[in-house]
């Protein structure tokens, strides 16, 4: 399909999804350094939050060294053109936290629900609109709902006031046809002025191909992250995607070489582990498991002696979804007991 001249809005995730890959340990200086470099490269939206979004600081999701407010304030004051965005998952984050993120300079928000639970977001989407924010309804683990179901959920989010509805491949499980079917179903029911976005994970190496497929089906916003810094095998690597767009004549408005430099010179040296498709992250993509579960499963594997891949497959079988990180430890303990590696407490 000829996509020449199409305008696409890029949204960088390395300071939010990338927090997962850094066990939430990104310093204020690093945040500012990355964000100013992305801003200078012309990236229009930069997400800055704890990996689990507003309200994310918790035993469940880990504690970052700074509050979301500190991160957002530090970054927002330095932006020349980029807008700072945040993630808000109802049930974890609240409207109070959205208000304070806005007060610190956030102007865009992904309000995220599991792909079948859009009706837990009406308050938050309406409140974001009231604040005048660029508002996205973000349907996570979208492979777990069929195209018609995604269309119905997206329509709800549009009804609550979302400017944009995203198909979010949290498990990096989808193939291009899966993406096209869901984006196409949304395009068929949403108002023409409602935008559609795609957020990919690279667990099967499909981040770029899936994002292009999304554009072919009508998406105009694409999430990615410089050098792919994100949960699992990372997000769609933004500089690679920008290069493909340039070859295809898709207009992203970013400076490709500057973006490549951010990835190579700033992000890669920050990585604690090489974010790539390896045995465990491939398992996420293959079994359809939430990408953030990767490092949690590796820790549970170390503690209880059950291989991370076995834990991930079991979590997939039990249909655990984003936010159920506590069930990783629980599942690992149950498996360890069944394998004679752990004694039960009598109750």
């Amino acid at each position: 399909m000829d996509l020449k001249g199409k305008k696409i809005i890029l949204h960088d995730m390395c300071l939010r999804d990338g927090m997962h890959a850094k066990r939430e340990q990104i310093s204020l200086d690093q945040m500012v350094k990355v964000a100013t470099a992305l801003d200078a490269a012309g990236v229009p939206y930069i997400q800055v939050t704890h990996g689990a979004g507003l309200g994310g600081n918790s035993l469940q999701h880990g504690f970052a060294p700074h509050s979301n407010e500190e991160y957002i304030s530090a970054v927002a004051s330095k932006m020349t053109q980029a807008k700072v965005s945040v993630l808000l998952i109802p049930g974890l984050g609240t409207m109070k936290e959205l208000q304070s993120a806005y007060d610190c300079g956030a102007r865009s928000v992904h309000v995220a629900t599991h792909c079948t639970e859009a009706d837990t977001a009406p308050q938050h989407i309406a409140f974001a609109r009231k604040l005048g924010m660029d508002t996205t309804g973000f349907l996570m683990m979208a492979h777990l709902n069929d195209p018609e179901g995604i269309a119905r959920q997206g329509k709800l989010m549009e009804g609550y006031g979302a400017h944009t509805v995203y198909v979010t491949d949290s498990a990096g499980y989808m193939l291009p046809d899966d993406v096209k079917a869901r984006i196409g179903a949304l395009r068929a029911v949403l108002k023409p002025e409602t935008e559609i976005g795609f957020h990919g994970h690279h667990n099967l190496g499909m981040g770029i191909a899936n994002s292009i497929a999304a554009i072919e089906a009508g998406a105009t916003r694409i999430d990615g992250s410089a050098a792919g810094l994100g949960a699992g095998a990372g997000n769609t690597p933004l500089e690679v995607f920008a290069a493909v767009c340039e070859r295809m004549g898709i207009d992203t408005g970013v400076d490709l070489f500057k973006l490549m430099d951010v990835a190579e010179e700033i992000i890669v040296p920050m990585m604690e582990h090489v974010v790539r498709v390896d045995r465990e992250s491939l398992t996420l993509g293959f079994a359809g498991v939430y990408s953030t579960f990767l490092l949690h499963s590796k820790r549970a594997a170390d503690r209880f002696g059950v291989p991370a891949r076995d834990i991930l497959v079991e979590l997939g079988r039990k249909k655990m979804i984003g936010g159920q990180e506590d069930m990783i430890m629980d599942t690992a303990m149950t498996m360890a007991r069944e394998r004679g590696l752990l004694k039960a407490v009598a109750a």
Partner: protein, 302 residues
Amino acid sequence: MKKIRCALIGSGNIGTDLIYKIQRSPVLEPVWMVGIDPASEGLARAREMGLKTTADGVDGLLPHVLEDNIQIAFDATSAYVHAENSRKLNALGVMMIDLTPAAIGPLCVPPVNLRQHADKVEMNVNMISCAGQATIPIVNAVSRTQGVGYAEIVASLSSKSVGPGTRANLDEFTYTTSGAIEKVGGARKGKALAIINPAEPPMIMRNTISCLTDEAPDEARITESILQMIKEVQKYVPGYRLVNGPIYDGNKVQVFMEVAGLGDYLPRYAGNLDIMTAAATRTAEMFAEEILKGSIRLTAVA
């Protein structure tokens, strides 16, 4: 034996499940069910089960309160109308058990503080939230042993068991439960997380409770206290079960629980709804036992 006569306000799933639990009680008798829709299934079912019904809201019940000797009412409507319902019924000397998030009365978790509320003859007690009922006993079991600076709970609920009211007001659920972890659980700071999982077949309610103790945890004493508390909850929620833990990691204590319901009217996986109706019934029973013994007397609130 004489029983205390009760009214149920709200003819939805919770109200219907309450009929079953109250009918089994040796000290409670369900007499009235109050709805707002004459065609509602809940009212029809209540009539079949032998209750008197009105579709005119609480005002339809008021003229019958004295002649039918209604002494306890359960409100399973919404936070928006609860205050008015409570005012009208309290004025007639009816004690209110609030299953809405209104929380105008003190928060009640039976094994933690029901005794105190009954002794004080509180005329309105609030049942917090399903996640609160399922997790606060455990937080309290730790905090009664050692100081807890922070407690965090994660409630996983099956999608089918979460009604439109909770969905549209998820922030209220978060605030109410977080506050109760502090006020009733005894942690200095509380945080509540809710996850709604659509898996089929529906998953049974799960709760993970994590506490950070001020000093290094005394593992044996804390484990003993938790196991003791679980037994207390099991007296009114038999499906309250320890799945894993307690496990200790530095000052962190973690407990992984499951709540299966009794399957009265609500399906077994909806342990979250069952623990609310069971806790509310337990609360009413304690008041009823005291009233029947003559140790407390309900009086009209002017």
